[in-house]
């Protein structure tokens, strides 16, 4: 661990005109490292020996039912809670020992984010900016940029904001210091479809800028849409963590031929495991055999109404993982 070199000195970037923090990691070193992390409240184990590594510039989706420990994990990673046991480091910085340094390089959008209701969006952000070494002009410029990014153009006091508007402001405050690591806890809850789409766009843009994103959500389609890696937490334990495309072994090819008869089973069996339902055939194959399938069907006098690779059904994976645990 001592080989990791990091620089948490705040630098001024003339091009971006706001502050940023440089992080240098040794090759093969993970940006976020969690070792045997536990959090106990009385007799209740909210988190039970979590081990997790997240690479730099990864978008990590954290799934799990209510009360599984997702928010507790994020709070521990942000240094908001003291772990009962275990160790967390981000960019080689020990979170428990140096929570302030962690907050300089991280941004956090909590679930049910709250602000000072008697202040406007801009005043709230200006207040938070005072904890970073930003001049007022730099802060104002960054704030205007962020409010434009989250499409929040209002002088109303936050107390008059809707849940969705607060959520947008929450995203702006999470990005205020141009963080290297962004923690998003149920970021799209309370957002309308347009807002949710905007958030997904922002996440993709942040990824392009090289940021690492830790993303907890209940909306599986959203996780599938933006995340590369997914972890499923259940009763405080990480039951699986994989690249999203590793959740499905092989290809699931859906075919809808015309006419539909029993001969199709024998005809397509050479491509893999076959199952039929509602005039559709599902071929589970180790390779993408769509061309061969279409050729074979055509040669045997069948026409194709549909032929496509079915996406990974994350819900299925999730339910299966949870079901196995139960």
């Amino acid at each position: 661990m001592s080989l990791i070199f990091y620089d948490v000195k705040i630098n001024y970037n003339k091009n971006k005109k706001y502050l940023f923090t440089k992080i240098f990691l040794n090759q093969g070193e993970s940006l976020i490292e969690v070792e045997n992390l536990s959090k106990v409240y009385g007799k209740f184990k909210a988190l039970d020996g979590l081990n997790l590594t997240i690479e730099e510039n990864e978008v990590f989706g954290f799934l799990g039912p209510n009360g599984s420990g997702k928010t507790t994990t994020i709070n521990l990673l942000m240094g908001m809670l003291q772990p009962t046991e275990g160790r967390v480091s981000i960019a080689g910085i020990d979170v428990v020992r140096h929570p302030r340094e962690i907050k300089k390089i991280c941004g956090y959008l909590p679930e049910n984010v709250g602000f000072y209701d008697n202040m406007s969006a801009k005043s709230n952000l200006l207040y938070f900016s005072e904890f970073y070494r930003m001049s007022k002009n730099e802060a104002l410029s960054r704030i205007n940029e962020l409010l434009e990014l989250v499409e929040l153009d209002t002088d109303k006091k936050v107390g008059e904001f809707s849940k969705g508007m607060k959520q947008r402001l929450g995203m702006a405050q999470a990005l205020l210091n141009d963080p290297e690591v962004i923690f998003l806890d149920e970021p799209t809850s309370g957002l309308d479809p347009q807002g949710a789409r905007l958030f997904r766009k922002i996440i993709r843009e942040q990824k392009k800028e090289g940021k690492t994103i830790f993303f907890s959500s209940h909306i599986l389609s959203e996780v599938r849409d933006v995340c590369e890696t997914v972890g499923i937490l259940y009763r405080g334990k990480l039951i699986t963590k994989r690249k999203i495309d590793e959740f499905s072994s092989g290809y699931r090819i859906l075919v809808q031929p015309e006419p539909f008869d029993d001969n199709l089973m024998d005809l397509l069996s050479e491509f893999g495991e076959i199952s039929m339902s509602d005039r559709m055939i599902l071929i589970t194959s180790e390779r993408d055999c769509r061309l061969e399938v279409s050729k074979k069907l055509f040669e045997n006098g069948y026409y194709l109404k549909e032929l496509y690779i079915k996406d990974i059904d994350l819900e299925e994976v999730y339910m299966k993982a949870i079901g196995l645990e139960e």
Binding site: M80, G114, F131
Partner: protein, 292 residues
């Protein structure tokens, strides 16, 4: 300096809040009325107005001001989620609580100064005599009264740190306030009576040399001295009593307040310790609590 950033915001929030402004107006009205009504101010010396505004204004309404500023300082932020948002930025928890206390103290100093100056001005307009020494007393009064309101604030802050909801915090704060300000002297009397017992029955018989009378006085003085020692111990736990004693002490009482000429060192110590104890308890609890 993050603590200054928090203090600046807290100060601005307080002095612009409806609650604070309402209390300030009530304080002003009560203090000016107390001067014009003539109670404590029959001697028409400007310094006497301090006793009037301490008794009528700050001792009671000032207590509520302190309590009501402090009771939801943390719970409100916890409930709204702003505390979590704030702590996700590079600021330590001790900076948050110190900044909040500093900002609130600043607001109390402003309130007390304003009320004192206006009431003092009103008394001069009414023809009260004044001297340079009165200005020194005014400064002392402002400091002591601000500390007194801060004491009540620290009780409110403590309940705000230990409670999860503002409504619970309000009940705890008022419970502590009632206990220390009103019930403690009564508890002292009850404890004294149970320890010392009823007054001794001494049959007073007049003798030609008066020795029986002297013995009677000695026994009764001894009895009341023991009662007073116990009740005073309990009174030390009452911030309002300590505040009164300290104010009386530096006003250099005229014959009217001659009862206050007793040694007030214990009261001064109690007066300073009270806010310290509650603030330190709040500080420790806040630093150790989980922000969920």
């Amino acid at each position: 300096m993050s603590v200054i950033v928090v203090a600046k915001k807290e100060f601005a929030d307080q002095i612009t809040s409806k609650r604070f402004i309402a209390f300030l107006i009530i304080l002003l009205l009560v203090c000016i009325y107390s001067v014009y009504s003539g109670f404590f101010t029959s001697e028409r010396e400007a310094r006497n107005i301090f006793m009037a505004i301490a008794t009528f204004g700050f001792n009671f309404i000032g207590s509520f001001l302190g309590l009501l500023v402090g009771f939801d300082l943390i719970t409100k932020e916890r409930e709204s989620g702003s505390l979590k948002t704030l702590l996700s930025h590079p600021v330590f928890r001790d900076q948050v609580i110190n900044g909040k206390a500093l900002g609130a103290f600043g607001a109390f100093v402003i309130a007390v100064t304003l009320v004192t100056i206006i009431t003092f001005g009103a008394s001069l307009m009414k023809g009260f005599s004044t001297s340079m020494e009165d200005f020194v007393i005014a400064v002392k009064f402002i400091v002591v009264t601000s500390v007194y309101i801060f004491t009540m604030f620290s009780i409110g802050l403590f309940s705000s740190v230990i409670a999860k909801k503002s409504s619970t915090s309000l009940m705890i704060a008022f419970g502590i306030f009632l206990l220390v300000s009103f019930l403690m002297p009564f508890i002292g009397i009850m404890v004294a009576q149970s320890i010392v017992g009823p007054p001794p029955e001494v049959h007073y018989v007049e003798t030609p040399d008066g020795s029986q009378g002297v013995e009677y006085n000695r026994i009764m003085d001894d009895y009341w001295e023991r009662v007073r020692a116990i009740t005073e111990l309990f009174e030390l736990l009452s911030p309002s009593n300590n505040y009164n004693r300290v104010v009386i002490d530096f006003l250099r009482p005229t014959e009217m307040y001659s009862f206050g000429a007793r040694d007030t060192t214990k009261n001064i110590v109690g007066f300073i310790l009270y806010p310290l104890v509650f603030f330190v308890l709040s500080y420790i609890k806040f630093l150790r609590s989980d922000i969920l």
